[in-house]
C-alpha cells in the first residue's frame, strides 16, 4: 500500500464517483432521520450498515450503531445468545467496512468497543489481523489493534516480541513493527519479568539486531528510529540524579552587601551580593522531577527553619516538575559564619516524570559568611552604570591561582554512586561508536554522522565524571559542522547541537573555563570590581546549555552570538547582569526564562530582531499571555487596565512586569521605538537607566 503513485481519474471513474456520492447522500439523509428520531428497528440499523459499507468514515453512523446496540442490550427479554448475535453482527459490519478502507479510524474503534463488551471470541481477532497485516504489514491501525487484542488475550510480551521479529524478517522497513518492539521491551523493562533479563542483557542484543538493518540499508529510516530509541534506553538512567547544586559541596559562600571586594580574602567565584535579604539554593537534576519539598529535601542551618523553606520548580511551562528547583534562605542580619547541610532524597517523594523514584540519597554542605554592608555595587549612579564593553574587562589571570582552582573544583558535585552500575552502558556506547565509525568509513551518510555525533556526546557525558574531560568534543564539533553543510534543511538543529557541545567543552575543564572568566573593571574607578564575568561572546552559539556547570555565574556575556532562544537560562538563579547584545532573539516571549531570575538587575538585549517579524511563531511553542497555561497564573485584574498602551503591548507587560531591572539596553530592535520605551518605563517603575539614559 506504500509507494504507489496516484493516477488521475478516468472519466468513467469520475462518473462512478458522482453516482456513488448521490447514492450516499440519499442514504445519509434517511440515516439521519432515523438517528434523530432514535429509531432502532432492524431496517434502520441495516441502513446504517449499508452506509458504513460505502463510507466507513461516517462517525455518526458508528455512534448510532453503538446506541442501537445499547438499546438492544437494555431490552428486558435479552438473553446471552441474543447479545452474542447482536455483537457478532457488529463485528461483521466492521469487517465489511474495513474491507472498504482498512485505515478507517471509526471502524477500528467500533471493533474495540464491541470486543470490550466481552461477549465475542477474541481468537478470531488475531486471524483477522493476520489478514490485514498480509495486505499491508505497515498498517499502524492493525498494529494498534493488535496491541489491544494481545492485551485482552493476555498474550505474553515475549510472544508478541517474537511476532515483531517475524514481521521484521519479512521486511525490515516496517516502522510499526520496530515501534511495537520498543513498546513491548519497555513494558518488559518496567516489569523486569521473570526470566527476562535486564536492559544490560537485552540492549546489546537489540543493537546487534538493528545493526543488520542499518548496515544492509542505511537509507531506510525505520531502523534509525529504533536505534535512537535504543540509544535513549542506554543513556537514560531510570532513577533521577542530582547533577549539581548551588552552593556546591564545601563552598565558602560570602554574602556581601558591597560588590567591590577588591583585595578581600574570598574568591570572586563564590561571593554573592544580594539586596533582597535572601540567597538561593539551587538543585539541578539530570532529568525533570517532581516532589521536591521541605520533606524530601532537608536544609539544616542555624538561621532558617527547614519547614519554612519553599521549594519551587523552575520550568518554562508551569508544571510541577522541573530539572531545576530553587529555595531561598533568609540572610541573617548580623555577622555570621554558619554551616549549612542539605540532604536530598533521604525520604521518598522525589519522582521523575517517567515515574522513577530518586534513589540515591545525597548530602552536601557549605559555609556561609555574611559581610557587613558598605555600599551597593548595583546602585547605579551616573558614574557607575555597568557597561559590558571590551575595555572594561580584564582576563581573570589572578595572582591567587590556588584559590581559583579550589573554588572551581568545588563547582560540581561528583556523583560517585552513578559509576557502579553503568559499566555496561559505556561499553555499549563504545561498541556503537566503533560500529558507526566503520559504517562511515564505507559510505557517506548523514544520519550515520548524526548518530555518531550523538553517540560520542553521550559517551563523553557518561565518562566525564571519571575522565574529567570530554575526549570527543572536537570530533563532534567537526561532525556538526559537516552536517550543517551536507544537510542545509536541518541547519538550525545541527547548529544547536554544535552550540551545546561547544558549551560543554568550554565548561568541561578549569583551564578552558578560565579562558572565559573576566573581571569587570569600571573605567572610572580604578579598582578591579565585582564578581567574575563569564564571557561566552562571539562563539556563534545558537542555543545556551551546560547550565549545570554554570549555576555560580552572576555576570554573563552572551553578546555577538546567534541565539534565537535562551531556554533553560532560568537555572542560573544568581545572574545579576546579562548581555544578550547582538543576537537573533525574535520576540519578547523569547525572554520568558528571565522572568524567573529574581536577582537580575542589568539586562542588555540591544541589537536583536525583536519586532522584525510581525507574527511571533514562538507564541505557539512557549507559554505566552495568549496561551492557557499563563491564564491561571496571571491576575485577571491586571489585564483589565485602562491604559491603552499596555493593552497594545500585552507581551511586554507580561514579560517585564516581574523584572527587577535597574538598567536595560533595548536599542537596535524594531520594537524599541520611543512609544514602546515609554511603555517599558511604565511597566518597570524601578528602572533607573534605559539605553544609556538615566531616567528621572
Amino acid at each position: 500500500m506504500h509507494g504507489r503513485p496516484r493516477k488521475a481519474p478516468k472519466p468513467e471513474e469520475e462518473a462512478a464517483s458522482v453516482a456513488k456520492a448521490q447514492k450516499l447522500r440519499a442514504l445519509q439523509t434517511q440515516f439521519f432521520s432515523f438517528h434523530h428520531n432514535k429509531i432502532y428497528t432492524k431496517e434502520a440499523v441495516e441502513l446504517s450498515a449499508k452506509l458504513l459499507e460505502i463510507n466507513p468514515e461516517s462517525y455518526t453512523a458508528w455512534n448510532y450503531r453503538k446506541l442501537a446496540v445499547e438499546h438492544y442490550l437494555s431490552q428486558p427479554d435479552c438473553n446471552p445468545d441474543w447479545i452474542k448475535s447482536v455483537l457478532d453482527d457488529e463485528l461483521r459490519v466492521v469487517e465489511n467496512a474495513l474491507r472498504q478502507n482498512f485505515k478507517s479510524y471509526g471502524a477500528w474503534h467500533h471493533r474495540k468497543w464491541v470486543i470490550s463488551k466481552g461477549h465475542s471470541s477474541i481468537d478470531n481477532e488475531l486471524r483477522l489481523l493476520d489478514k490485514f497485516q498480509k495486505a499491508d504489514s505497515r498498517n499502524f491501525h492493525a498494529w494498534n489493534y493488535r496491541r489491544f487484542v494481545a492485551e485482552s488475550m493476555k498474550r505474553s510480551e515475549q510472544d508478541e516480541l517474537k511476532y515483531t521479529e517475524d514481521m521484521i524478517y519479512k521486511n525490515f522497513s516496517n516502522y510499526s513493527a520496530w515501534h511495537n518492539r520498543s513498546v513491548l521491551l519497555s513494558a518488559l523493562f518496567e516489569k523486569k519479568a521473570e526470566g527476562f533479563l535486564s536492559k544490560e542483557k537485552v540492549l546489546p542484543e537489540e543493537y546487534e539486531f538493528i545493526h543488520q538493518a542499518i548496515f544492509t540499508d542505511p537509507d531506510d529510516q525505520s531502523g534509525w528510529f529504533y536505534h535512537l530509541w535504543l540509544l535513549d534506553q542506554t543513556v537514560t538512567t531510570d532513577s533521577p540524579l542530582l547533577a549539581s547544586s548551588w552552593p556546591g559541596h564545601g563552598y565558602d559562600v560570602f554574602l556581601v552587601e558591597d560588590r567591590c571586594y577588591n583585595g578581600s580574602a574570598f574568591s570572586p567565584f563564590t561571593a554573592l551580593h544580594s539586596d533582597s535579604g535572601s540567597f538561593p539554593i539551587v538543585l539541578y537534576f539530570n532529568q525533570p522531577v517532581g516532589g521536591v519539598s521541605s520533606s524530601t529535601v532537608t536544609v539544616e542551618c542555624g538561621f532558617n527553619k527547614n519547614e519554612d523553606l519553599l521549594w519551587k520548580p523552575l520550568s518554562a511551562s508551569n508544571s510541577q516538575t522541573a530539572r531545576v528547583w530553587v529555595a531561598h534562605l533568609k540572610i541573617p542580619s548580623s555577622d555570621l559564619l554558619s554551616t549549612v547541610e542539605v540532604s536530598v532524597g533521604h525520604s521518598k517523594g522525589i519522582i521523575s516524570t517517567r515515574g522513577f523514584e530518586y534513589s540515591h540519597p545525597s548530602m552536601f554542605s557549605f559555609k556561609v559568611h555574611v559581610q557587613p554592608m558598605e555600599r551597593d555595587f548595583f546602585q547605579v549612579s551616573v558614574a557607575e552604570s555597568i557597561s559590558l564593553r571590551e575595555e572594561n574587562f580584564k582576563i581573570y589571570g589572578s595572582q591567587s591561582e590556588e584559590s581559583i582552582i579550589n573554588s572551581f573544583n568545588q563547582l560540581s558535585i561528583k556523583n560517585g554512586h552513578e559509576s557502579t552500575a553503568s559499566n555496561w552502558r559505556s561499553e555499549a556506547l563504545a561498541k556503537e561508536i566503533e560500529c558507526f565509525r566503520e559504517l562511515l568509513s564505507l559510505m557517506d551518510c548523514k544520519i550515520g554522522k548524526l548518530t555518531l555525533a550523538r553517540l560520542l556526546m553521550a559517551y563523553d557525558v557518561m565518562s566525564y565524571p571519571f575522565a574529567n574531560k570530554l575526549v570527543h568534543s572536537e570530533e563532534v564539533l567537526e561532525l556538526c559542522s559537516d552536517l550543517m553543510k551536507l544537510d542545509p534543511t536541518h541547519y538550525q538543529y545541527y547548529k544547536d547541537e554544535h552550540s551545546m557541545v561547544l558549551l560543554q567543552k568550554v565548561t568541561s575543564s578549569k583551564e578552558s573555563l578560565l579562558q572565559h572568566c573576566f573581571q569587570y573593571k569600571d573605567s572610572v574607578s580604578s579598582a578591579i570590581c565585582g564578581p567574575i564575568c563569564l564571557r561566552l561572546s562571539n562563539l556563534s552559539l545558537s542555543r545556551m546549555g551546560a547550565f549545570e556547570k554554570l549555576l555560580w555565574v552572576q555576570m554573563l556575556d552572551l553578546s555577538h552570538n546567534e541565539l534565537q532562544s535562551i531556554e533553560g537560562l532560568e537555572a542560573m538563579q544568581l545572574l545579576s547582569c546579562l548581555s544578550l547584545r547582538n543576537n537573533k532573539l525574535r520576540s519578547l516571549t523569547a525572554l520568558e526564562p528571565l522572568r524567573k531570575l529574581k536577582l537580575l538587575r542589568v539586562l542588555d538585549i540591544s541589537y536583536n530582531q525583536i519586532g522584525d517579524h510581525s507574527i511571533d511563531t514562538t507564541r505557539y511553542l512557549c507559554s505566552s499571555p495568549l496561551s492557557h497555561s499563563v491564564g491561571s497564573e496571571s491576575n485577571k485584574d491586571e489585564t483589565v487596565t485602562s491604559d491603552v498602551a499596555l493593552i497594545d503591548n500585552w507581551e511586554a507587560f507580561y514579560i517585564f512586569k516581574d523584572f527587577n531591572l535597574n538598567q536595560l539596553e533595548i536599542v537596535g530592535n524594531t520594537i524599541a521605538d520611543e512609544k514602546f520605551k515609554s511603555v517599558l518605563v511604565k511597566i518597570m517603575p524601578k528602572l533607573k537607566q534605559l539605553d544609556g539614559k538615566l531616567l528621572g
Binding site: 524478517y169 519479512k170 543488520q212 538493518a213 548496515f215 544492509t216 559504517l439 564505507l442
Partner: protein, 566 residues
C-alpha cells in the same frame, strides 16, 4: 516388450511437418507449428513423452540411458533398389550418454516402488520465475496443464559440508547470519547500483566500458569481498566456469551479461505471491514441461504417435530433397519439413554427396560437438541435506571442493511434495560441466562424499537391508509431513545414500544442415538458451510464421494463474 501393440497405420500420410522425438524443443516446435495451422505429426520411439527431457520411473532410467549409449551401427548399404522414386537414408543413433554407473543400496524398497519415482534425465533444472520458459508457458496458456511449487532457497556449499544461504534479496541480506555488517552493506549497495542501473537512473549508470569488461573485474572494482563475489558469480549469475582463472574459463561472463542475470534473478524473487524463492519446479518432474507443450500441440490438431520408431529418411532420387520418413511399421509418411531428436543422425551412404539444394544452406549452429560434456548424478536419500527445508538449490563454486575444480557444481534437492519420489524421501540432482568422463566423475563424487554417507557395497548392504524395513514403515508415517525431512537425524549426521545414478551426457547442439535437429539438454540451470535455440530452429523452417502469435491466446492468462499451488 511383448505388450507393445503392433504399429497402427497412420492416416493421413502427408503432413506439413514431422517431428521425431518429444523432447522439450521438439514439443515446443510442434506446438508452435500447430498454432500456425500447420499439420504436424509428432512421433516418439519411446513409450513416454519427453525423450532426453523426460522424468522416468526409477527402473526405466538406467535402460533409457544405456539404450542411448551404444556406438552407432555402421550404416547399412543404402537400399537403392527401392522400387519407389526415393532413396532411403537409414537413421543411426548417436551415443549420447557414457560412463553410466548405477548403484543400489536398498534394492527391495526401490524396486517395489519404482513407479513412485519421477527422475529427471536432464537434472538439475529449475525455472526462474521470470525467465523465458515461464513467459512462454503464460503466453501460450500451457501453464494450465501444469502445477509448480517454489524452490525455497539457494545455498553455497563448501568442502566441509556446510551450506551457506545465499543473501539474494534485501530481506535475505538482513537476515543472513554468516555475513558481517560491512559485507551486508557492500552487497546491498551493489544490488542497489544494479537496480538503479536497470531502472535507468542517470546518476547510477554503469559505464559502457565497465559493461564490456569481465564481470569479475567489475565486482573487484566495486570492492566486494571474495565470499560475496563468489555468491554473485556462481549462485546468482550462475556462471559455469572459474571466472578468476582465465586459463580454464571457457565462458568468461561480461558485466553486461552478469547484470542481466542479476536482473532475471531479482525479477524472479517475489514475482508470484506464493513462491518465496526465485525458482519453480514442476510437480511430477521436469518431464511435465514437454508433455504440457505436446498437449498444447494436440489441442491445435497435432497428431501424436508414441512407441513408433523411424527407420529411414526418404529423399528424392533426383534432387536429393527430403520427402518423408519410413516408420518401423514399414509405412512411409511424407512431409515438407522434418525436425529430428538429437538421438538420431542420418548417415549418408559412403561415397554419395549430400543433396545439393540442402548443402547450399549455411549451417547456423556449430556442427562440432566441442562443447564438451556434462556429468550428471541422481541420488536418493531418506533425509534432507538440511533440516526444515526440503526443496532447494546448492551451488559449489569452482575450487570450493578441491583445487582442480574448474566448473561450478550444482545440486538440486527435491522432496516428495513435488511427487518425484516416495513420501519421506529426497532426490538430489547434481551436475557439472567437464571435459571428459573421469573429470566429471570426480566432480560428482566430490559433492556426494561431502554431503552423503555412501554405504560400502558388501558390508553395509546388510545394514541397509535391515534399515529398509524401518524406512518402509517410516514411509507410511511420514507421508503427512513429508517436507519436514528426517526428524530423527541429528544435524551432524549425513544422509545415507539409497540409490544413485551417475552418467556423462554429450552437449550436442541443435543444427540446421541437411535436416534440422534439436539440441540436447544444455549445462544451464534453466531453459533460456534452449528456448532461444528452439525459436531459431522454428524461424529457420517457418521464416514467414510468427512463433506463438499473441492472438493465438485462447484464454488470456493473468500472471497469478502461473503461481504455484502450495
Amino acid at each position: 516388450m511383448d505388450d507393445i501393440p503392433p504399429y497402427p497405420p497412420i492416416d493421413p500420410t502427408t503432413f506439413d511437418l514431422i517431428v521425431i522425438g518429444t523432447g522439450l524443443p521438439e514439443s515446443i516446435i510442434a506446438a508452435a507449428a500447430s498454432t500456425a495451422s500447420k499439420s504436424v505429426l509428432h512421433l516418439d520411439p519411446n513409450p513416454f513423452y519427453g525423450s532426453h527431457f523426460s522424468s522416468l520411473p526409477l527402473a526405466d532410467l538406467p535402460s533409457f540411458l544405456s539404450s542411448h549409449s551404444t556406438s552407432p551401427s555402421p550404416p547399412r548399404s543404402p537400399s537403392s533398389d527401392d522400387p519407389n522414386e526415393f532413396s532411403l537414408l537409414e537413421f543411426a543413433t548417436r551415443p549420447l550418454y557414457s560412463f553410466i554407473d548405477i548403484s543400489t543400496f536398498s534394492p527391495n524398497l526401490l524396486d517395489q516402488h519404482s513407479r513412485k519415482f519421477n527422475l529427471d534425465v536432464a537434472g538439475p533444472r529449475v525455472l526462474f520465475c521470470a525467465d523465458k520458459s515461464i513467459e512462454l508457458l503464460l503466453r501460450t496458456g500451457t501453464n494450465q496443464y501444469m502445477e509448480f511449487k517454489s524452490v525455497d532457497a539457494t545455498f553455497v556449499g563448501d568442502n566441509k559440508g556446510n551450506l551457506w544461504s545465499v543473501p539474494d534479496s534485501r530481506a535475505a541480506i538482513f537476515k543472513d547470519k554468516s555475513l558481517g555488517l560491512v559485507e551486508k552493506n557492500k552487497l546491498m549497495r551493489f544490488f542497489k547500483l544494479v537496480h538503479g542501473h536497470l531502472a535507468g537512473e542517470q546518476d547510477v549508470k554503469i559505464s559502457e566500458e565497465d559493461l564490456q569488461s569481465p564481470f569479475v573485474d567489475f565486482l573487484n572494482k566495486m570492492g566486494l569481498p571474495p565470499k560475496i563475489k563468489s555468491f554473485i558469480l556462481y549462485a546468482i549469475a550462475m556462471a559455469d566456469y572459474d571466472q578468476e582463472d582465465t586459463g580454464v574459463c571457457r565462458d568468461l561472463l561480461k558485466t553486461k551479461d552478469g547484470i542481466d542475470q542479476l536482473a532475471l534473478y531479482n525479477a524472479s524473487i517475489g514475482r508470484f505471491q506464493n513462491a518465496s524463492g526465485a525458482f519453480l519446479y514442476p510437480i511430477y518432474g521436469q518431464g511435465e514441461l514437454s508433455q504440457a507443450f505436446c498437449r498444447r500441440a494436440a489441442v491445435k490438431g497435432c497428431l501424436y504417435v508414441l512407441r513408433m520408431p523411424v527407420t529411414a529418411l526418404l529423399v528424392d532420387k533426383d534432387t536429393g530433397c527430403y520427402k518423408g520418413v519410413r516408420l518401423a511399421s514399414g509405412q512411409d509418411i511424407f512431409s515438407q519439413k522434418l525436425i529430428l531428436d538429437p538421438t538420431f543422425k542420418v548417415t549418408l551412404p559412403l561415397g554419395s554427396s549430400p543433396p545439393l539444394p540442402l548443402k547450399e544452406k549455411l549451417p547456423f549452429f556449430s556442427l562440432k560437438d566441442d562443447k564438451g560434456k556434462i556429468a550428471r548424478g541422481i541420488c536418493i536419500t531418506k533425509t534432507s541435506l538440511k533440516p526444515d527445508i526440503s526443496n532447494f538449490l546448492v551451488v559449489y563454486p569452482p575450487r570450493s571442493l578441491f583445487p582442480e575444480q574448474v566448473t561450478s557444481i550444482r545440486l538440486l534437492q527435491i522432496a516428495s511434495n513435488l511427487a518425484v519420489c516416495l513420501p519421506g524421501m529426497f532426490v538430489l540432482y547434481i551436475s557439472a560441466l567437464c571435459n571428459d568422463d573421469d573429470q566429471g566423475k570426480k566432480l560428482i563424487h566430490a559433492v556426494m562424499n561431502t554431503l552423503l554417507t555412501v554405504p560400502l557395497d558388501s558390508e553395509s548392504n546388510a545394514a541397509v537391508q535391515s534399515e529398509t524395513a524401518e524406512i518402509g514403515s517410516a514411509v507410511q508415517d511420514e507421508t503427512s509431513e513429508s517436507s519436514s525431512g528426517g526428524p530423527s537425524d541429528s544435524g551432524e549426521e549425513k544422509p545415507t545414500l539409497l540409490w544413485s545414478a551417475l552418467y556423462s551426457q554429450e552437449l550436442t547442439l541443435g543444427q540446421v544442415d541437411f535436416i534440422c535437429s534439436t539440441p540436447m539438454p544444455d549445462g544451464k540451470l534453466n531453459y533460456n538458451d534452449l528456448i532461444d535455440t528452439t525459436f531459431k530452429i522454428f524461424q529457420e523452417i517457418y521464416p514467414e510464421e510468427e512463433f506463438f502469435p499473441e492472438t493465438s491466446l485462447e484464454n488470456p492468462e493473468v500472471d497469478g494463474d502461473a503461481s504455484p499451488e502450495t
